[in-house]
């Protein structure tokens, strides 16, 4: 077993100390909490929070983790479903990713997430760690990841900054996904100047599992052990929370925290194999990936989803940077880490698997029956909270919305250029269209991705949907497509979201699969702008209505807000992923004609 580092001698802000010093000034505003949110924390605790508690609440109540602006709207995805739509749903919204029954005892889990901002700052690593994060979501459901997709949006193709972003982001996605041995089976590549200062890097991962292998993120059974494994914890992703570098908030010692995170795909590949072996040997009761909000999120979500509480000793966390304070350790977003709950009987088996794969781990504490999440630092309590108040009972906003004043005029404006007349002009127009950056051949990007690895790819680029075989003997498999059109959504966010869904649904259907389920990544501007909020609400309403009309449920997804440069928001961009099923992928239909003499039909309206 690994040894815990000696506890640092910080001026630790314990629960006891917090209770005794109610008037201490706390940097809640710097940590992103609003005044009423801070007051609510004080009310919940009945005292001021400790530094570590403040770290946890602030990060878990952030827009990114709490969905505080979007929650009231996302509810529709649960409300507008019929029993029939839930027929194939083994795990619905609320877990790391939804799980869909595809028959023959097999299930599939899939989800799309954004890594927009980090990819703008450091394109390669931002995109790479985006792939890493979504893949860990899939593993944490108990599944083997089998493919990735990458819907991307960039600024104008001839803008001087675009090359930096495109090349960095594409090689980052390839560098990480290729190294994990996950075929890349599709995505999107769109250039539009609205994304200039805010590219969209969405990543989708899909995994397969047997029904009995489903794992959930909950910590149950008092006495069960809590373990953190994978990479060591560093100062990643806490740059914005530098006030925490001094636990007592008084010292001004400058402390070096990484501005960006670097991915380690090798560590993640080993983590995947190691987790699959844990699942196979049935040695974990619950499991959670560490992404945004790191240990804060993992401990509070596991405890909140479980039936008791949790008691953790934070000095047991293996550190890459020994100067981290408890608050920073709780907030760190270091990649390639997982947290699991293991019964005492399985501890040895767990350790044997870690040793086999040479993965570092440390036992942090155990599940309790107290209903409290208690975190100690060298034996002194620094966090004592009801985990639900951190993970699930954060603030919920009904933000003001208003239909943009320009909406009528943008809808009213129509194409006033000259229409091509005559076959020569039409031919020229078609050629010009086909040569435009958004229509032309994309193999210069897709050839940088491995589509062969794992040997189950039945369709990939440039086809409408990616198709993966799940069962090698029967040919059972799935098709996935992701689509969005920011311009349509800008003109009419309600119809735009429906159109994105319809396009994705059609792509899956034309490949020959029966559409079953939906995931979405909702990329929008600032929710504090009532016009953006209106776009968001309309899009969700459109997507939920569209799903009901088509009879496919949303099983999970991600919301990415604040996508704007200065005061200008991106076009509302709801990226929709549809998953369909095949009895036998041999029946898949590629796009395009492959032989001479075939008849051409145009179907639909």
């Amino acid at each position: 077993m690994t040894v815990s580092p000696a506890a640092q001698k910080f001026n630790i802000d314990t629960v006891e100390h917090a209770a005794a010093t109610p008037d201490t000034e706390l940097p809640w505003a710097e940590l992103g909490l609003k005044e009423d949110e801070f007051r609510r924390v004080v009310e919940i605790l009945g005292r001021r929070p400790t530094a570590a508690e403040l770290a946890m609440y602030s990060v878990m109540w952030s827009e990114h983790c709490s969905y505080k602006s979007s929650k009231v709207h996302l509810k529709q995805f649960g409300d507008k479903v019929t029993e029939k739509m839930k027929e194939h749903l083994l795990v619905g919204i609320g877990e790391n990713a939804g799980v869909v029954d595809i028959g023959e005892g097999w299930a599939v889990t899939f989800k799309v997430e954004s890594h927009n901002h980090p990819s703008f700052v450091e394109p390669y690593q931002g995109a790479a760690t985006g792939v890493g994060g979504i893949v860990r979501d899939i593993i944490s459901m108990g599944a083997r990841p089998v493919a990735v997709m990458d819907p991307l949006r960039f600024g104008a193709i001839d803008h001087p900054d675009t090359a930096r972003l495109v090349h960095g982001i594409v090689s980052g996605i390839g560098g990480y996904g290729n190294s994990l041995g996950l075929p890349n089976i599709g995505g999107e590549l769109v250039f539009d100047s609205v994304y200039q200062g805010n590219p969209l890097v969405n990543a989708l991962a899909v995994g397969v599992l047997r029904h009995e292998d489903i794992r959930l993120a909950n910590a149950s059974g008092a006495g069960n052990k809590v373990v953190l494994f994978g990479a060591r914890t560093g100062g990643d992703g806490i740059g914005g929370a530098s006030v925490l570098a001094s636990e007592s908030f008084d010292a001004d010692k400058p402390s070096k925290r990484p501005a960006v995170q670097v991915g380690d795909p090798f560590a993640e590949k080993v983590l995947i194999e190691c987790c699959l072996e844990l699942f196979k040997a049935s040695v974990v009761e619950g499991i959670q990936d560490l992404g945004a909000a790191g240990i804060s999120c993992a401990t509070s979500e596991l405890a909140s989803n479980g039936d008791g509480g949790m008691h953790v000793e934070l000095t047991n966390v293996l550190l890459r940077d020994p100067s981290l304070t408890p608050g920073e350790i709780l907030m760190s977003e270091s990649q390639e880490r997982m947290m699991a709950v293991v019964t005492p009987e399985n501890v040895e088996a767990f350790e044997a698997i870690m040793d086999k794969w040479n993965v570092e781990y440390s036992w942090l504490g155990e599940v309790t029956g107290t209903g409290r999440l208690i975190i100690d630092w060298d034996g002194e309590t620094i966090v004592d909270v009801d985990p639900r108040t951190v993970a699930h009972e954060g603030p919920v906003y009904e933000r003001p919305m208003s239909r943009p004043a320009v909406q009528d005029s943008i809808q009213g404006s129509s194409f006033d250029g000259e229409r091509p007349i005559g076959s020569a002009a039409i031919r020229d127009a078609i050629l010009e269209l086909m040569a435009s950056p958004n229509m032309c051949d994309k193999s210069w990007v897709t050839n940088q991705y491995d589509r062969y690895v794992q040997g189950n790819t039945a369709l990939a680029m440039p086809d409408d949907a990616g198709v993966i075989r799940v069962d090698e003997t029967t040919g059972l498999g799935v098709a996935i497509s992701t689509d969005a059109n920011g311009r349509y959504s800008y003109l009419n966010p309600y119809e735009g979201a429906k159109l994105a869904l319809a396009e994705s649904y059609r792509n899956v259907a034309t490949s020959g699969a029966t559409p079953l389920a939906v995931t979405d990544c909702l990329n929008f501007g600032s929710p504090e702008d009532p016009e953006v909020m209106w776009q968001f609400a309309e899009s969700v309403r459109g997507l939920a209505d569209g799903c009901r009309e088509l009879g496919v449920p949303v099983t999970g997804g991600n919301v990415s807000l604040y996508n704007q440069t200065g005061g200008v928001a991106i076009h509302p961009t709801p990226v929709v992923g549809v998953l369909g099923v095949f009895d036998d992928v041999a029946r898949r239909t590629p796009s395009g004609w492959r032989e001479d003499g075939q008849a051409i039909y145009l179907m639909g309206v």
């Binding site: 700052v121 450091e122 690593q125 990479a231 560093g234 100062g235 990643d236 070096k256 925290r257 990484p258 501005a259 960006v260 995170q261 670097v262 991915g263 380690d264 795909p265 090798f266 560590a267 890459r320 940077d321 270091s334 990649q335 040479n358």
Partner: protein
């Protein structure tokens, strides 16, 4: 011909997966004298003629812009190496 060497190392606070993998491999080769490894890059720029201050300044610019990514790396040296 004279050469200017530019050393670029991952910033100390940034994860260095390459160094980590090497550090893990050394003990398996019986080389256990090291507590950590970091892997950086070394560039050698050849100069035709004298290394003037202007050329050296060009090398510094290259180091800061093209040869390193200031978000994750530090330029630790830009120096003329004497001809062998």
């Amino acid at each position: 011909m004279p050469r200017i060497v530019v050393d670029v190392m991952p910033k100390p606070e940034i994860l260095d997966p390459q160094g980590k993998a090497i550090a893990g491999a050394l003990p398996r080769l019986g080389l256990s004298g090291f507590t950590g490894v970091r892997q950086g890059k070394r560039f050698e720029l050849t100069v035709d003629g004298d290394v003037t201050e202007e050329v050296l300044e060009q090398a510094r610019t290259a180091a800061a812009t093209l040869l390193s990514n200031p978000v994750i790396e530090d330029v630790t040296r830009v120096e003329v190496i004497p001809e062998a």
